[in-house]
Structure formats: structure tokens, C-alpha cells
């Protein structure tokens, strides 16, 4: 079942890339997508049908602009630190705890953290994430988790769990 869904998604992706219904393109697409499905289908998420539920898609659409806003903020922050003559940085690696349980949610959390203000994921270890922080505000696990991860977890929990 999950291989079929993976095949359909990958084939839609191929159609968007070529943007033509030429028979040659379709045949080449089927071959390539089939190969990709056989090789990578096993790594796909366990229950893909879950992500077609409307309320998950709704929260995902809400999540995108929030994420982009944090990303712009992150860039202005890093640009300020790079251009300031005294280079105001106080880096360090802290440990945070996440409430998310599934793998895909953790991956999205790690990616979101990497692209937002001054923080970057080094490693995921069970429920704990190691974060490189360009301006350490708190070395404690609970406080750091609240500052770094809580505003993403609120949305990611609704989307992926």
C-alpha cells in the first residue's frame, strides 16, 4: 500500500517537473519512478494515508507562513551579528527535550530549528536534541526547550501526530 502511494506522489512530482504529456516523457517517467519506488519506498513514512486527512493539511498550510516569518527573522538576526563591528556572539551547544514522538515530526522539528534564529540541530538522541545556539540564553534543558522548540511543536504536533 505504501509503495503505491509513494509511486503516485513521485509520479505527480515527475509530471510537474516535465510539464508535458508527451508519450516519451511518460514512459521514461514510469521507469524512473518505479526504480525510485523500489529502492526508496521502504524508507517512506509508515502510514502515509494519515497525511491526507484535511485537518492535517489545514495546519500544514497555516504552518508555512509562520515558518517563513521565523526564517526571515533568523536571517536578519544572523546578518546583524555578521555585520556588527564587535561581532556579538556567545555560542554553545545545549540540550533540549521534545514532546514529539514520531520520526517524521522530529525530522521536521530539526529542520525548522536549523533554519530559525541562531539555532542549529547537531544530533537527535531519542527525545533529546542537541542544539548549537549562537547566543545562549539559558543552559537549562527545560528553559531552552521552551525558547527554541515550543512554538514549532504546537503546530507540528497537530500536523504529524
Amino acid at each position: 500500500m505504501r509503495y503505491v502511494i509513494y509511486f503516485i506522489i513521485a509520479f505527480c512530482f515527475w509530471l510537474l517537473l516535465t510539464l508535458s504529456v508527451n508519450i516519451d516523457h511518460l514512459i521514461a517517467g514510469v521507469i524512473v519512478v518505479l526504480l525510485a519506488t523500489i529502492i526508496f519506498g521502504g524508507y517512506f513514512t509508515d502510514r502515509p494515508a494519515k497525511f491526507l486527512q484535511p485537518h492535517r493539511i489545514f495546519w500544514f498550510v497555516i504552518y508555512i507562513p509562520i515558518f517563513l516569518w521565523y526564517m526571515v527573522k533568523a536571517n536578519i538576526d544572523v546578518a546583524y551579528r555578521a555585520l556588527h563591528p564587535e561581532r556579538p556572539i556567545k555560542p554553545g551547544i545545549v540540550k533540549i527535550k521534545t514532546v514529539l514522538k514520531t520520526n517524521i515530526a522530529k525530522v521536521f522539528l530539526a529542520n525548522s530549528i536549523t533554519l530559525t534564529p541562531g539555532t542549529m540541530t547537531c544530533e537527535i538522541d531519542g527525545d533529546y536534541l542537541y542544539i548549537h545556539w549562537i547566543w545562549v540564553q539559558s543552559p537549562e534543558v527545560d528553559k531552552a526547550s521552551k525558547i527554541i522548540a515550543s512554538h514549532f511543536e504546537r503546530y507540528l504536533r497537530r500536523i504529524f501526530e
Partner: protein, 118 residues
């Protein structure tokens, strides 16, 4: 009109790319440099892609630019993460102004921070 907005978005993207490059030179160690390059260059390149989409619209080129942007958003943090983990395990020391290294304490048997005065 839309074309003008597209050009503005492209130039903002180029500006962020430039800032990322400046950060790459100015920050002191691998980890801070990765921060600058990943964040600024991802948003900068995404800006260029969105600008191309605004100028070209729903043509083959515009759609490809959008897909490139989405793939970039997913892959760029993963690459940065791999580089970071690689340098941690390789034993690259952190800048001497670093105040805390929880990862080194937990996993590598001691903080991996440069000594003062080197």
C-alpha cells in the same frame, strides 16, 4: 507589475546571499560559520527561486523554480546537520568564546572548546 516585484525579490535574495558570505568570513569557527551560511544562503536562494516564479509565472521554468525552492528547503538543513555532526565527531574544536558544550560533555567525554590564548 508582478515582474517588478519578482526582480525586487531576486535582489533581496542576492543581498541575503551576500550577507551569508560575509558571515562565513567573519565568524570564528566551523559551527558559527555553518549557522551563517545555512540560514542566509537558504533564504537567499529561495528568494531567487520565488523571484523567477513571479517573473515567469506558471510556465515550465517557473514551476521548476518553485520545486527547486521546496527541495532546497528540505535538503539544505540536512546537509548542514551532516556537516556539523561530522565536524563534531572529527574533533574540530569550538571557538574559545563558546560558553557551553553539552554534546561534548555527554557523548565525547569532555567539552571540545579551544584553550584560552591559542
Amino acid at each position: 507589475m508582478i515582474s517588478t516585484i519578482g526582480w525586487i525579490v531576486i535582489w533581496v535574495g542576492v543581498l541575503f546571499d551576500l550577507l551569508g558570505a560575509i558571515g562565513l568570513i567573519r565568524f570564528p569557527d566551523v559551527y558559527n560559520r555553518l549557522q551563517a551560511s545555512t540560514k542566509c544562503v537558504t533564504l537567499g536562494t529561495l528568494g531567487i527561486m520565488i523571484g523567477i516564479f513571479l517573473i515567469k509565472g506558471f510556465s515550465p521554468m517557473g514551476i521548476k523554480a518553485l520545486i527547486c525552492g521546496a527541495v532546497l528547503l528540505l535538503t539544505s538543513p540536512v546537509a548542514a546537520h551532516a556537516l556539523m555532526k561530522g565536524s563534531l565527531h572529527f574533533g574540530t574544536k569550538m571557538w574559545k568564546g563558546t560558553i557551553l558544550d553539552q554534546y561534548g560533555k555527554d557523548k565525547l567525554g569532555g567539552e571540545q572548546i579551544e584553550e584560552e590564548g591559542k
